[in-house]
């Protein structure tokens, strides 16, 4: 075969391979571009999540400062004044011996106790002193004392010991919110708070009531109330998951799953 023809055939082969390589190059470009875009999108999403978390942390901090201030004012100011009123009432009752003073004294005593409980509930330092389990137990005991509810508190010793003070406080507020919802909406008579371990690294904190329940479809989309929204956003902060089980007429169960993040890493 003449050399010219040979060269020509080689050129054809090379040109064909070249075109195939162009096609492969084009595909590699598309892949690379898609990968970069996906990475950018994930980074953007991550930044947005971190921003939302920071915002929420700040909001919670402000909230806790406010609670602590109110708690102190109740303890230092209002509580003291009511105690003084009670003392003066006792002095007056000795002078005048009226029966009505007993009722008034009882009411004052209740007001002072309620204010003390409110002060304790608002004070985050108290939770640091007694621990999350005792904090939750005392919430349940307060409910029990009202005599409007029967309650149960089930927890192993040293439950949730891996949680730091900030996370304990967030969990405490979440449980408070749930209980507040039960008192406001559920018409329940029995409330159970249970802390149960799941393996070695997680705990379930379940709050169950025997109230009127609700249609779970109400939780979809934008229909979630502010209280529940707060619970969900706080749960994100402590890497907890929230599961809500409810049926109309059959009560409600809210389950927080809290995992020891250090064990996972």
């Amino acid at each position: 075969m003449p050399k010219q023809q040979e060269d020509f055939l080689i050129t054809i082969v090379i040109a064909s391979v070249f075109f195939v390589l162009i096609g492969i190059f084009l595909m590699i470009l598309v892949f690379y571009f898609l990968r970069r875009q996906r990475k950018n999108r994930m980074e953007k999403e991550d930044m947005r999540n971190r921003f939302e978390q920071t915002l929420l942390n700040t909001q919670l901090e402000i909230q806790e400062h406010t609670f602590n201030y109110i708690s102190q004012e109740i303890h230092d100011n209002i509580g003291q004044i009511l105690s003084l009123v009670r003392i003066n009432m006792n002095v007056l009752s000795e002078k005048f011996g009226e029966d009505n003073f007993d009722t008034t004294d009882e009411l004052l005593g209740k007001a002072i106790r309620d204010l003390r409980n409110l002060s304790h509930n608002l004070n985050s330092n108290r939770l640091k002193e007694i621990g999350i389990v005792e904090g939750l137990r005392s919430l349940i005991i307060q409910l029990d004392k009202t005599e409007k509810y029967t309650t149960e508190f089930i927890s192993p010793e040293n439950a949730l010991s891996f949680m730091n003070n900030d996370h304990c406080l967030i969990l405490y507020r979440m449980v408070q919110e749930v209980i507040h919802n039960i008192l406001k909406h559920a018409n329940a008579t029995h409330i159970v708070l249970e802390i149960k371990p799941k393996g070695n690294i997680s705990y379930f904190v379940t709050i169950t009531d025997n109230g009127k329940g609700f249609d779970m479809k109400a939780l979809q989309g934008q229909n979630t109330g502010i209280g529940l929204q707060n619970i969900f956003s706080r749960a994100k902060l402590i890497n907890a998951t929230v599961k809500v089980n409810s049926k109309e007429g059959e009560g409600t169960s809210i389950i927080f799953e809290i995992t020891n993040q250090k064990s996972i890493k």
Binding site: M1, Q5, E6, L9, I12, V13, A15, S16, V17, F19, V20, I22, G23, I24, L26, M27, V30, F31, F33, L34, Q37, R38, R41
Partner: protein, 220 residues
């Protein structure tokens, strides 16, 4: 029997094997298409075997038009942008008209219709590029391109038609009397290699249809 024909058969059997998974998509039409392809290739093989070489041009000339029509139909159903769907739709009558025009006025019955092939190749490559372009759009970002069956069809088509442009454009020269033996050899070699790539990519897309259906049917 050549390696290329073997890959065509493998692709056909893979499509038949994955029939249940292809049924829900337009890819199910690959089964009759691949069956036709294998029949045409077999007839072409027989015509070489019995030394009736010139007579298989008309089969491939008709088949090429059917091929482009089929691919345009698939693109029409896989494009997301309405404009591209319209372009793919109007390509179908365009290639048929071009093919008939080429048959009557240009290359006639005695020649391999390279003009039709080049015309169709240009559009198929264009459609492949448009398909990739759609995937760069922000709406598609979160999906995995490698798991899309039609992506692999596009890969095969793009590489096949890009690679065969030169040999189809120079077909008459390669078949001319002073180059016949070497020209045919080169044409066959390149063509068969590209067919292997094309039909392998078809097989991959059929298998992906099966895998995607399995994943979507798993309980969440």
């Amino acid at each position: 029997m050549t390696v290329a024909f073997l890959f065509e058969l493998i692709s056909l059997f893979t499509a038949i094997f994955c029939y249940k998974d292809l049924k829900a998509t337009k890819m199910v039409f690959f089964i009759p298409f691949l069956l036709l392809t294998c029949v045409i290739e077999f007839i072409g093989y027989l015509s070489i075997l019995y030394a009736v070489r010139e007579q298989n041009y008309w089969i491939y000339n008709v088949f090429t038009t059917c091929e482009f029509t089929f691919y345009a139909y698939l693109f029409m159903h896989n494009f997301k942008l309405p404009f591209l769907r319209k372009v793919a739709f109007f390509f179908i009558p365009l290639i048929i008209v071009f093919s008939i025009t080429n048959f009557i006025f240009l290359q006639g019955t005695d020649h391999f219709h390279t003009y039709t092939i080049l015309f169709g190749s240009f559009f198929i490559v264009l459609f492949c590029c448009c398909y990739f372009y759609e995937w760069i759009l922000p709406e598609q970002i979160n999906q995995n391109l490698l798991k899309q069956p039609f992506f692999w069809v596009c890969v095969g088509l793009l590489l096949f038609y890009l690679g065969s442009v030169i040999i189809n454009a120079l077909f008459e020269y390669l078949r001319s009397s002073d180059m016949e033996k070497e020209g045919r050899h080169i044409y066959g070699l390149i063509n068969r290699s590209l067919i292997v790539i094309l039909y392998s990519s078809f097989s991959i897309s059929f298998i992906l249809c099966r895998n995607n259906r399995k994943i979507s049917s798993l309980p969440s």
